[in-house]
Symmetry: C2
Subunit: 207 residues, 2 copies
Amino acid sequence: HVPHTTIQRLPVYLRCLLQAQAARVRVISSGDIAEMCGTNPAQVRKDLSYLGELGTRGIGYDVDDLVGHISEVLGITERRKVALVGFGKLGAALYGYSGFAERGFEFVAIVDVDPAKVGTQTDGITIRHLDDACEVVRASGAEIAIISTPADGAQAAADVVVEAGVKAILNLAPVRLVVPPDVAVRQVCLSTDLQILSFYLAQHDGG
Amino acid sequence: HVPHTTIQRLPVYLRCLLQAQAARVRVISSGDIAEMCGTNPAQVRKDLSYLGELGTRGIGYDVDDLVGHISEVLGITERRKVALVGFGKLGAALYGYSGFAERGFEFVAIVDVDPAKVGTQTDGITIRHLDDACEVVRASGAEIAIISTPADGAQAAADVVVEAGVKAILNLAPVRLVVPPDVAVRQVCLSTDLQILSFYLAQHDGG
Ligand SMILES: NC(=O)c1ccc[n+]([C@@H]2O[C@H](COP(=O)([O-])OP(=O)(O)OC[C@H]3O[C@@H](n4cnc5c(N)ncnc54)[C@H](O)[C@@H]3O)[C@@H](O)[C@H]2O)c1
Ligand SMILES: NC(=O)c1ccc[n+]([C@@H]2O[C@H](COP(=O)([O-])OP(=O)(O)OC[C@H]3O[C@@H](n4cnc5c(N)ncnc54)[C@H](O)[C@@H]3O)[C@@H](O)[C@H]2O)c1
C-alpha cells in the first residue's frame, strides 16, 4: 500500500527524473533527487521504498529503471483518454495545453451547453451537448473527466460522466462534488497556491 | 519555524474551518478537521502545534480562534495585490475567477504583448504592454504576480516583475523560472493532478 502523501510526490520525482534522463544521467542518488525536487533525501528514500527494492546503498538508483517503475505505478505507461466538460476560457486553455499530451493524456470528448459552441469542431473533436454527454463520453472510452463548468453546473456534469463509467475527475469548479466511493476526485484550487505564497510574503515582511 | 509540508495544508484547514464557521460550529476536534480535510487527526494536531498552544485536550479547538490564527500566519488578514502577466485564455479565466477576491486577492495590473489587447480596459484595469510593465507593476503595489504567458515569454515576464519589487510568483507556464533567492515561486502543473488520478485508475483496474 502506497500512502497518499507519497503518491502526490511521485509525479514530481518523475518530472525531475525525466530531466535527468534527458541530460543522459544514468545513476542518481536520493540526495540529487531531493535537491531537484525541493524535498529531503530521507523522504525520497522512504517514498521510493514503497515501490520495491530499487536503489543500491552508496551508489543510488538507475534512472531508466526508476522512470519505468514510477510510470508503471502511476498507470501512465499507456495513453489515458480524457473528457472535458465545459469549454469556456479555462476549458479551452486546458484543451490547448501541450503538457497533457506530452504525458500521455489525450482529449477524446468535449461537452458544453452553449448553443454557439455545440456542434462546432476543434482539432477534429466535435463539441457535444450535455444532454448527449453520457453516450458520447461512454463511446469515447474516456477514463478521466476534467470539469471546468460554472459552479452551478459542476455536480450535474459529474453525475453524467460517472454514469458514463468515468472513475476519475479533475474538478476546477469551486464546489465539493458528491460521487460514489469508487470515483477519485482531485479538486484544483489555485487560491491555495496564492495563500501559500502569501505565507512567504508574511515571513519576508518579518510577520 | 513552520515546515513546508505544514504550510501546504494550512489553506486546506482554513477552507474547512470557514465551512464549519458558516455552519455555526463553535468548537471542533482534530478528528473532525481531519475528516473534513482528508487527513488524520495526529497530522492535524502536529500541524496546528506549530502555530502555538491552540487547542484544549479532550475538548478541541475554538473555530473562530483557529480561523484568526491561520489567517494571520498565512498573511491574509489584509488584501493582497496581484499583477497578471499574460491575458490569454488562462489569464482571462483566472482574472474572472471569484475565488481569488473572496480570499482577499485583488488584481491591480494586467500585462500583455498582443497589440489587440494592450490599451483595452477590463473591469476598470487597462491592459498595459510588457515594455511598460516594470513601472506599471511597481506603481500598482502588486506583491504577487501570476504568469500565464506562453513558455517562451515566462522568464522575461518573471525578470520584469522581480525588478518591479514582486517577491512571490505563481507560474502557470511550463518552464522552470530562475529568480533571486528571496523570491518565492509556486509552479502550477495540472498534469501532476492527472497523473495522481491515473494512479487511482491503475489501482482500480487491479494494476
Ligand atoms: N480552481 C481554480 O483555481 C479556478 C480558477 C479559475 C476558474 N475556475 C473555475 O473554472 C470554471 C470555468 O471558468 P471559466 O473562466 O472557463 O468560465 P467560462 O464561463 O468562460 O466557461 C464556462 C463554460 O462552461 C459551459 N457550461 C455552462 N454550464 C454548463 C453545464 N451545465 N455543463 C457543461 N458546460 C457548461 C459554458 O457554456 C462555458 O463554455 C468556473 O467554475 C470557475 O469558477 C477555477
Ligand atoms: N500549468 C498548467 O497546468 C497549464 C495548463 C494550461 C495552460 N498552461 C500554460 O499557460 C500559459 C497560457 O496558456 P493560454 O492557453 O492562456 O495561452 P494563450 O496563447 O491563450 O495566452 C497567452 C497570452 O500571453 C500573451 N503573451 C505572449 N507573450 C507574452 C509575453 N512575452 N509577455 C506577456 N504576455 C505575453 C499573449 O498575447 C496571450 O494573450 C501557457 O504557457 C500554457 O502552456 C499551463
